[in-house]
Symmetry: C2
Subunit: 234 residues, 2 copies
DNA sequence: TAGTGGTCTAGACCACGGT
DNA sequence: CCGTGGTCTAGACCACTAG
């Protein structure tokens, strides 16, 4: 049981509990369709109020990982689906969670009009090749991130660098989705024979204080499923 | 001031408050960027606890309508963007909210394997033509909706019919997004000269009790912007 | 310092599902 | 009937923002 909450860590209890449950779902302790401990049970186990346990569950529902049924309980609804790709948050983490090895190749790295232009192909390592899954084109304002052009982003995560070195935390993304025909780069990297249309997501990423930290455009390989879930308000 | 909560209506107070605030935003009482009354103020005004007011605000944040800033307040973040199209919920309402007249044309209407197959083109009325924006292909299980094949869905909303006549409430949608090349129907209806790839969203719609109420696939005209917003958890 | 949102507690009553 | 999740209250302390 790694399951004990630290009341003085500064991390909200509901976040800690949420993380513990997420972990349990990822490692299979709770698997799809299974019922979770009741809210009352959770509050007793972790020595918190039911409201706080509810808050953790509510976060998980929001993320689509679990579902609640009135009078019955909470159930695991999805295993690792729905960690949607365009949760730009963590491509690396996402691939690692699938038990595979992430690969990043920097295709372009130059300064363009006070912005760092960064083009990266990202994928997973296969037996004797690399399968590329996305091509990301990013523009990062040098004004906010002076010196960021000196990092090697085939090794470092862009967002961790923003957080750890510059103390800027990407928070909100506004994006739009388009369908596009593949260009030469996409054909080469995705190794397409026929040329199906591809999905492209273009977005602007903002920090807490609504400063633009990245303008980004991602093209997805047809090998990536693009799934999501939503609910309807009555 | 239509602003009074009914404590015995059966409708949760936080939903009532959420609706009131939504109304105020839509009608311009609070406009983009403006600050909302504080949580304490709301709780006093509406005679509820701060927690309940918070819950209403939390719902609005989830929907992207407002944004909170610690130590400062809550602000209107978006006016009517983000009532995203693939909120299948209300194409009709969406178009009406834009001040335009929605049009639905039924292209196919037949029974296929215990399912009602319904193909509809949807759009807006222009001066002397109709601009089609989506083509929806739906399969509805007759077992759950006996007799639904007798409704005219160029006039009636599919979801309202499900709700009002059959007491089934669409709640959850699982969907995937693809890029496709247009077929003849799309070229004709969207009146495309060049043939750009199109976005297609395929999904399954479930009721409260996780019964499948519709399998649907929507193809979007390139004239529709496909926008969304999301947040990153630290 | 005063006001704001963020977290948490302790307790209550309700509506729903299954026994 | 009991156990479940859903809503709500009353009050507390904290962290952040601004004058």
């Amino acid at each position: 049981m790694s399951g004990r909450l630290n009341k003085n860590s500064g991390i909200p209890l509901y976040i800690q509990l949420k993380d513990i449950i997420t972990e349990r779902i990822k490692d299979g302790t709770y698997s799809t369709g299974e019922i979770l401990p009741s809210e009352t049970q959770l509050s007793l186990t972790y020595q918190i109020t039911r409201q706080t346990a509810r808050r953790a569950i509510s976060e998980l529902v929001k993320g689509g990982l679990i579902r609640t049924e009135h009078g019955k309980g909470s159930f695991v609804s999805i295993n690792e689906l729905n960690y949607s790709i365009w949760n730009f948050n963590g491509f690396t983490d996402y691939i690692l969670a699938l038990g595979k090895i992430p690969v990043t190749r920097v295709l372009e790295h130059e300064i363009d009009n006070d912005m760092l232009k960064l083009v990266r192909a990202r994928g997973v390592k296969e037996v004797n090749a690399v399968k590329y899954l996305t091509i990301d084109t990013s523009y990062i304002p040098l004004e906010l991130f002076p010196g960021i052009e000196n990092y090697d982003f085939s090794q470092n995560s862009l967002y961790s660098t923003m957080r750890r070195v510059y103390h800027r935390h990407p928070r909100r993304i506004e994006m739009s989705v388009h369908a596009v025909n593949p260009g030469q780069i996409e054909r080469d990297l995705f190794m397409l024979e026929h040329i199906p249309p591809l999905l492209q997501v273009s977005g602007e990423v903002f920090s807490e204080k609504s400063r633009l930290v990245e303008r980004v455009s991602v093209i997805y390989s047809p090998k990536l499923e693009f799934k999501m879930m939503t609910t309807i308000n009555p």
